[in-house]
């Protein structure tokens, strides 16, 4: 197995005296989809925030072999990490195209800006139709797509997605998951936080289960799908029904 793209060890995140993430260690291999499951409030979003550098944390973080704890968010973006947050955080009063343009803010070479933009239009044809529209006027699914496209404009090696299916209709969720799979196939590693446990485990290579800020279970996604505890807690209804 190749050296991990992202490795996190002993990570802790605190809000005042409340510890949201406690001693979490995870790794993401190049070209893998890794999913993090867990109930609301388990610390999944805080974990992603700490990896991206928008939250302060203790512990070690290494990306592509280099320690990054001290690097500011913008350095991490330039290094090839990006986060699509749960709330999307779009520039709502700016056009779709401006949002994408700013997504490529850290790109050194502007030469391949056009090529990347074209690739986004291919991946998300709906966005191309709305390129001049304000981001704030988009529908929920389009917003998620724009948030992903904006992140991809920086040419990341690691894409972190926080609840991409939140509040979206099943058809759109299917679309988004298909695109996530395509991205993995094109070499981007994915760290996926998802409430839709079954869909996430079917897509992912590896999974972690987070509870009260700690990893309580981890393993290959196929194994987690069969795990009694995961079935009971996250695939709950089904287990009772069948």
């Amino acid at each position: 197995m190749s050296a991990p793209l992202l490795s996190v060890a002993g990570l802790c995140v605190s809000y005042g005296r409340v510890e949201a993430v406690r001693d979490v260690s995870i790794t993401v291999a190049p070209g893998a989809i890794v999913t993090i499951l867990g109930p609301n409030g388990a610390g999944k979003t805080s974990l992603l925030g700490a990896v991206m550098g928008v939250l302060r944390s203790r512990g070690t973080l290494a990306f592509a072999g280099a320690p990054i704890e001290r690097r500011a968010v913008e350095r991490r973006v330039a290094d090839g990490m990006c986060l699509v947050p749960e709330k999307r955080e779009l520039f709502v009063t700016m056009s779709v195209e401006d949002n994408l343009r700013l997504g490529g803010f850290r790109r050194r070479a502007s030469s391949d800006y056009g090529a990347t933009l074209d690739r986004m239009w291919t991946l998300f044809p709906r966005l191309k139709e709305r390129r001049a529209q304000m981001a704030g006027t988009l529908s929920g699914g389009e917003r998620q797509m724009l948030a992903m496209a904006r992140a991809l404009m920086s040419g990341p090696k690691l894409l972190m997605l926080d609840e991409p299916s939140l509040g979206l209709a099943p058809l759109i969720v299917r679309d988004i998951f298909r695109i996530v799979a395509e991205l993995r196939d094109s070499g981007v590693s994915i760290l996926l936080v998802e409430q839709n446990a079954r869909a996430a485990l079917e897509l992912a290579d590896y999974g972690y289960v987070l509870e009260n800020g700690s990893v309580v279970l981890e393993g290959p996604a196929a194994a987690l799908r069969q795990d009694e505890r995961v079935i009971a807690a996250y695939l709950g209804i089904r287990s009772v029904a069948t």
């Binding site: 001290r70 913008e74 973006v77 947050p85 779009l90 700016m94 997504g103 850290r106």
Partner: protein, 345 residues
Amino acid sequence: MDLSIVLILLQDGVTNAAIYALLALALVLVFTVTRVIFVPVGEFVSFGALSLAALEAGRMPGTVWLLVILGVAAAAATLFAGRRDLTVRSVALTLAETILLPLAIAALTAFLAPHKPPQLVQVALALLIVAPMGVYTYSAVFRPIAEASVLVLLIVSVALHLALVGLGLIFFGAEGSRTEALSRASVTLGDLFVSGQAVVVLGVTAALMVGLYLFFERTLIGKALRATAVNRLGARLVGISPGFSGRVAFALAGVIGALGGILISPLTTIYYDTGFIIGLKGFVAAIIGGLVSYPLAAAAAIMVGVLESFASFWASEFKEVIVFMIIVPILLARSYGTTVLEDEE
């Protein structure tokens, strides 16, 4: 009151309003990008005006030393903040920007000032001396506490204002100065006597506004600033560092403030502490615009300027009362219509 008086008052009001509008834009810009209510923008006005007056008199303005001191403070703060991640390149860049540049400007001033260069050169020199203080102020004072609450940022802003006013008194003394008009030409249009200075003020203001508009609409950096204002977290996630946006915003505010002073100083006598009340009127306009809308802030500035002009004609003693009391109903009107319950930060 006949038509010619109305026209004169309108001209006065609109000319002052143009400067309020500029300051309002600077305040909106700095606030949306950094959450700092930039009270000392008024001191940039005073410094710009008084530096120009000193140069006109063939003296070296004291603000040059302030520029050097602020540069040193900015260098110290920047290097301290980045102490864990320093490279030769970053240190060299910081020092060049914060130490070498002010020294170069100081040297240039020392060389040119005694020769009483042409007016345009004096104006450029005054701008060069005062405008960079915006960036240094940000690096030295606000960057280290960028995450503090709006209230703390405001109080620090006030403290900076107090310190700068004190410095202004030392540099320029208690006497006021009035600089020469930037244009002595004048035109008479029917009843209206249009002064060249008013035309210059309005022209420069209009040009600056168009320039800013193009900057925000057409350039990547301008868009990055807007992005920071719209969504701070989103901007960080695409790699726009808050420090970068803050520096650009303060740099622009420095230029606008200094320019405002240069434009207004031929119109009225400027004292070391005059800037505050001018800035306050810009602030009122900015607030009426909700601290977010540029066009509304500009419109509000015109209202403030014209109102002030007419108020000083009718009831000069109550000029300030009228100007400031009129904003309460306007604020009330602006306040209605949104949700009632909000949890403050």
